[in-house]
């Protein structure tokens, strides 16, 4: 079975401050991990993914995420947040041992960046 948890419903930061959105996962094999962002009344946009290799993954719009196997985490980070980063963020996981291509999504974290 595969699952992902986003422990924070909401994250509030001031513009220019670092932004972190937390994600933890559970899989029986190796994880394939994804981050998506959703702006109001829009579909999900792909930000970045971890498949294998370097634990630090760089993605779109200045975002990066760090894979930590011992802590089963894949936190999304941005060194300096912008007001335009305010959105809903989803973490997703697929177990490498699964024989289908379904993703399991977290409940989402609403990020608000205040000016």
């Amino acid at each position: 079975a595969q699952s992902v948890a986003q422990p924070e419903d909401q994250v509030n930061v001031a513009e220019g401050n670092p932004l972190t959105v937390k994600c933890t996962y559970s899989v029986s094999g190796n994880p394939y991990l994804f981050w998506y962002v959703q702006y109001p009344n829009r579909g999900l946009q792909f930000l970045l993914k971890y498949i294998t290799g370097d634990n630090l993954v760089k993605g779109s719009y200045g975002f990066e995420a760090e894979f930590n196997k011992s802590q089963t985490s894949f936190h999304l980070k941005k060194p300096s947040a912008l007001v335009s980063d305010s959105a809903l963020y989803f973490c997703a996981v697929r177990d490498s041992r699964s024989n289908d291509y379904k993703l399991s999504f977290g409940a989402g974290t609403t990020v608000t960046v205040r000016a």
Binding site: D9, Y32, F34, Y36, N41, R42, G43, L44, Q45, F46, K49, I51, F90, A92, R94, S96, D100, Y101, K102, L103, F105, G106, A107, G108
Partner: protein, 115 residues
Amino acid sequence: DVKVTQSSRYLVKRTGEKVFLECVQDMDHENMFWYRQDPGLGLRLIYFSYDVKMKEKGDIPEGYSVSREKKERFSLILESASTNQTSMYLCASSLSRVTGGDTQYFGPGTRLTVL
């Protein structure tokens, strides 16, 4: 760029009506998915398809059916709409079952209200 389009952004239907949600992707992707998104629950998979005329149940298939007559088109059908099917519906596609860690690309979503 991958483009996934959905036939309607907003839809209002009455209880008992038959509802068709259409999704088209233009990148020759093999896999297509239908999700519903509800606040606090994240995305839940309804049905998915790996090939033409092929379908697999997701986590919440009850009350829904799907059709995939052409590779680029995946339709979600609500045989008899009910108020608890009021939700945001998201379609996604991904390239192939062969590659691991396949990124899913999403359409803009259809916000369905059943009265």
